[in-house]
Symmetry: D2
Subunit: 338 residues, 4 copies
């Protein structure tokens, strides 16, 4: 941790910083520069709250070099984490395609979707039983009924399933059914839920909050991992910016940057960012090109009738054509961009 | 709801939109313009998912005029909501000052803070017992012990208390102790927690998420209100932007804009946005000037020793001087800027 | 243009809006809804300043459907614009690679870079002679001397050149030398410069401002096109967001969205967004995958010695390996993602 | 400047950084920490391009402590700059109010506005003769004719005038007429224009770009100051964020932060940020409360008929009532919030 002093900081102010750092149990190393003093704090400063120094007289700013996470850190564990779900490996040499409708609407709908996803070459079925919705008056998902439909869809298609747990109440139900439990962007900093997920035997896919830094995303993963569960998949799904031409701005650069920070598998969700199906496929291809370990895509047998997010769901024909094209281009097995 | 078609939309595409709108039970009114068709959907469209129309062929965009909230809507209830907490009125003619440390650290600390806040003229005591922290390794608050200290601080100072509930588990404990339950920015879309708060007899202060729109903030309030609890206070605490000179960008314009949208009381938190105490007081004055119903400010007897956010806590001397100045300027009773 | 009234707007307020719209020479069509009035303004409203209506009593908001551009509009000219520069076609069936150093530093450096770019299969040479720099004390480019070096590099390599004009003073010099004139992100709304570019016989590459909407980008292109020059290439180079892990957030979704709005060719600049060379290649591949007509990439013979932006420049070896890989994958000729 | 190495950086990589820093003429001081090496670069590093170090092997990041400006730096010149314009002092103990229409539309309009501004107690008249507009088809101002009307308005009212120069061509004309030359947000990094302003005898009001950092704003001011003109006034007018409830998010915190960075006077423009007149007055009061040296506000005799930005213009009655209220509250002379 580095403490940068104002040019006109007094001797007393500098002394006070050195004293307090020592009182806190760390070793301060003063670096007098041409124009200002910079104090380097050494020792295990991960747990030092920089705010205690920032408020001292004469301090211009405090720069934290350390990270708010450890288990997720690639400097701690350089080998990529590979997560097995049935026959599917996430984070391995082959990319995975997760697909299905935004929400489970009926047994027929989810089974039809599952069979189509399977037939087109998808690896995992998605489908929401519990839906977090902005308005309390919107459709909130079929709940436990939806989970039963998902189970049947798995039985019929053979695909593992991923579905979202929106709170601790629903976590147990979801955990009992799903092969992967999803934690949504709105809940990225719902720490009780993260800790609960950390005590689950099931892998967890954690979506990045719409305004979260990568540090915050990795610290959220750390909440899960520090409770014991090391099987965390990170998902980039777009951030909220000044852009108004898409729902969210997909931050594709986060993938190569995260590769330098963490060993966890990385998935791209192009559907929520795009908001409109014509934009989904170009973003999906870009997600593979930028080096993600896979994609999670919304596909619906009849998007016109979808209860949630129909506009961004691919039709089955569009999904089939997309799968054919990426297989032909060997994008799922191409190691070049990973 | 308005459906804007592309200039080159075909007759069939327009017909398809009209049909689907009718199938959904609404009445479409076509407005042929000089260059393109605009279709107005009338009826009670609050619950219509615009996504169902957005994905149709020939549709350029769908514009929603309706709001995802009702009980919070000033068009529904034009009279300002005034919330009584002991002798204090929030949203009434006099502004309120909520002050205290970021977190309860010990009985002595919170009692000392409470007596100082009282003596300086503060109305309500703040202090966190449960602290949501980015890293799982940071200090997470004293929990139930902290609540006991808060109770004692209330007994000694006579001030009502506000403290945060971070999850459903802690809600009951917090609710039993606090006069106002705070829901933090990270939990603004934690819908289970919001619904639980909606069944509480205690007023709730809901902080705006760091990237939430005002529509989303009001829809979050609606989650609470639709469960029965109408006593919701909204709190602007800064949004995350490209700015790097403060922790968050305090969106003071949200106050007059919200006045035009809702009848709920509005509070400004200048401390978290500023991140540094020198910036807190100018923002606090601006918060009163822009018309908020009150402020929530961090004050700590010894900020250098604070376990959390010491840099942004005012000293008691600074707080006293601030209170003296705003009283002298009659800012708490000035109706002009409300 | 649509005028949405407040629910409680009075008859008089509605009448006043209708009157003013008629006075302005447009035809207002009232659409009474279940809860509020929406007024559709028809006629050629492109030039109507919506602000005149927004300020009227009872008006909740004004929604503009029309666009601030015409010549750039795909609804006006559906065929893609293809720009020929020597033997190179920009916007045609084959993608183009523009590469070279951020700034021209010496004759030797730019000739060495040009020969390497040519040999690796690049199509066009980039290199800045005039550099807009944040600080007045930073290196500002070699100016006219740099242009001479670029000319010599073109003679030796056979590659067409693109270089930036930072103001009207330098425009004539740049125009006399360059095959394509670049207008940088900082100058995207420098309207005098845009108009000057509109009177040039040379194609212009216009970079999107770091916080510009697509509407603003297209309106900036319109400033050039409305002066006569129809050869405008748009370049996405990243926007400034809350992200702090890259210099700018590359908005790759802008490419498919712009395809639906304009016929102009679209180029991606992955280098300025990444800020670090390890991130450049994944973003470059993503730029092709998302459907851009080409890339502009920084390559430097000795990045460690670069005077400007060395950290984001590829070495020649990296560039060669990138070119080999995208050729092998046929990404330059793949029509699939366009 | 601080160079933070990866934990696993090799001895060779560290050596290479030390060597290059020395080659560049600076002195590197290695700070071995518990987990990683941090290298402090001392000497006059203001002109060192950090990019040269960032791209080296083993470097995690480079942290720049130095500033891209000098003359604007409060650490260099601690005394506030006070600028005299006629009898008006900007940056002195009394706040100033600049008011007038967005654009000069006719002699009658600007004279009427000037007399009203004067009579209500305004200090300086604003009015645009050259208007930068997003679309080339929008009204662009009366140009030279507008300047003549402004001159006449000054003669009749006795108020000094401020008006915008949009390019070098118009600068000479504007400079000959105006008492203060405004440089707009779109031109904040139009360096040729800034340098021209730096050679002007007239004070310059520089508006912050809609996505500019404070460092960039101060570096832009430095472009003016380094050419000789020390009379620069900075203006905060709102930044573009994810917010969609106002046109721009007024960053009021920039005022106290800038006070700690620079000695230049600071003005708030609440009109462009608000976009709607009901929001202007609360933001104007907040601008004074947060400590600005003054305000620039749009006032129009008949906003309904304004050619530009009518919705955000105050009527004369609103402006009078605002001036009366701030005078009564002594906000213009109150030293407390400065």
């Amino acid at each position: 941790m580095l403490v940068v002093m104002y040019k006109n900081a007094t001797e007393e102010q500098i002394e006070r910083v050195l004293e307090i750092v020592e009182e806190l149990g760390y070793k301060p190393i003063p670096n007098p520069g041409a124009s200002r003093m910079v104090i380097n704090i050494t020792g295990d400063v991960d747990l030092l709250d920089s705010s205690r120094i920032e408020g001292l007289g004469g301090v211009m700013k405090v720069i934290r070099v350390t990270k708010p996470y450890r288990l997720a850190d690639i400097e701690v564990k350089p080998d990529p984490t590979v997560i097995e779900v049935g026959d599917v490996e996430i984070g391995g040499s082959r990319r995975v395609i997760i697909a299905g409708p935004c929400s489970v609407e009926s047994l027929d709908q989810i089974v039809e979707a599952a069979l189509a996803v399977k037939e087109c070459g998808g690896d995992i079925l998605r489908g929401g039983a519990f839906k977090p919705r902005t308005s309390p008056y919107s459709f909130q998902g079929l709940g436990g009924e939806g989970l039963k439909h998902l189970k049947e869809a798995r039985r019929r298609s053979g695909l593992p399933i991923i579905t979202e747990a929106v709170d601790i109440e629903s976590f147990e139900l979801v955990e009992a059914t799903a092969d992967i439990v999803q934690i949504g962007a709105r809940n990225m900093q719902n720490y009780s839920l993260l800790k609960r997920a950390g005590r689950s035997p099931k892998p967890v896919m954690l979506k990045r909050g719409i305004s979260a830094t990568l540090n915050e995303l990795l610290a959220a993963a750390e909440y899960i991992m520090s409770e014991g569960n090391q099987e965390v998949i990170l998902c980039e799904r777009g951030i909220r910016t000044q852009n108004n031409h898409v729902r969210f701005t997909l931050d594709l650069a986060s993938i190569p940057v995260l590769r330098g920070l963490t060993h966890l598998p990385l998935i791209i969700d192009p559907s929520h960012a795009a908001g409109k199906r014509d934009i989904v496929i170009p973003l999906a291809r870009a997600g593979l090109a930028v080096g993600a370990d896979g994609l999670i895509i919304e596909v619906h047998p009849r998007p016109d009738e979808a209860l949630v997010d129909g506009a961004q769901s691919l039709t089955i024909e569009m999904f089939r054509s997309f799968m054919d094209s990426i297989n032909e281009d060997q994008l799922l097995t191409d190691a070049r961009s990973k």
